[in-house]
Symmetry: C2
Subunit: 189 residues, 2 copies
DNA sequence: GATGGCTCTTGATAAATGTCAATATTTTAC
DNA sequence: GTAAAATATTGACATTTATCAAGAGCCATC
């Protein structure tokens, strides 16, 4: 597992990777079965996660029990509940494996410590934030400006992998629509 | 104008503000009238903006000419089209003053240079990203999990200032609904 | 202070989407 | 391998939201 992370970091940072071995040593491997949770609503997000393989569903549950998905995080991507992680307030979100997944996790304390001690680690953290924010800008615009069918087409164009790996129910919850509506939209493509 | 920025940065970074004078010297003041543009679709985002006072509307225009608002940026907040700024690809968004506004802008080149030379500046940039990303997480969840009336109530609870400063038309476009629907929802509160 | 152009509201209607129920299909657990 | 559970589809209907049109209110400009 750690080799995947090492490759990932080298690809992000280039040649200047002083301290890389120490950085990597703080990451603990986790093996998740399908439907195992990394984080539940109400808990504090005490770790940052790197997905080695698998998919993590980031979702909330509303008052009547509906699950709605903010994001799916695939392998070689990073994951945290940023509000809970930074301010140590209870998480509003759940993180759950949508497939059997391998994850490397680093505690908030080690993460902060590495950020402070290794400029290159902070730089990588900044890049993670840039990418996460850039993606969320697209996603917000898709909700503000598109109807459900347009969002589905956008998803097919830009995130086709998700369709091969997730149930219809989950895709519907990512699009912000009911499973029935999703079934019907597929007929209109 | 620069004093506001200086106060803002000191508040963010605390005592260690070496280089602050030089940092601030790279920011150019801009005076915007209502409806002046900072950025248009198709242009490259060549600057990062700090709003001293006023409101900037961040919006897109779809194929049939509808304006939809991703965000409103108020005074003492930061603004960039992150995809265009980082990768120098054409912007998909417009930035336009919704009120007469005062803005400080720094070129991409100076911004990158300061990030590389002053760790504290990079730290502040990271904090801007953290805040922007955290806010966008809330906004995505509001679209995935709430209907229009719930989004309106959420906005009243969490961003009441916007109602005092923006037209109904703009608020509707921020909620992702038509002006007529917004009028009707107000009657249901 | 009139004029024209916005914005806001209201009504009528259409389109999109949700809910509920029934059935078919697939997956999971033993 | 089979039973049970979860998922996916389909139909009927309800609710939400958009669109179009008309009129009222507001405000910028001359």
């Amino acid at each position: 597992m750690h080799q995947v992370l090492e490759q990932h970091i080298r690809a992000k940072l280039g040649t200047d990777t002083a301290g890389l071995e120490e950085v990597i040593s703080y990451f603990q491997p986790l093996e998740l079965k399908r439907n195992d949770y990394l984080l539940r609503e109400g808990e504090l997000c005490r770790s940052c996660y790197f997905i080695v393989n698998g998919v993590i569903q980031v979702f909330t549950i509303d008052a009547v029990g509906n699950e709605t998905t903010r994001d799916f995080i695939l392998e070689e991507h990073w994951l945290m509940e940023i509000n809970s992680f930074l301010q140590q307030v209870p998480s509003k979100e759940f993180f759950r494996a949508a497939e059997p997944s391998q994850v490397l996790c680093i505690s908030r304390e080690h993460f902060m410590d590495l950020s402070a001690r290794f400029p290159q680690f902070e730089k990588m953290y900044r890049q993670i934030l840039e990418l996460s924010y850039a993606n969320s800008v697209y996603r917000i615009n898709s909700f503000v400006s598109m109807d459900a069918l347009e969002r589905l087409r956008w998803m097919m164009d830009h995130q086709p992998k998700l369709f091969t790996r997730l149930s219809s129910k989950m895709i519907a919850s990512y699009l912000g629509i009911s499973p029935e509506t999703y079934t019907r939209l597929k007929g209109k493509l």
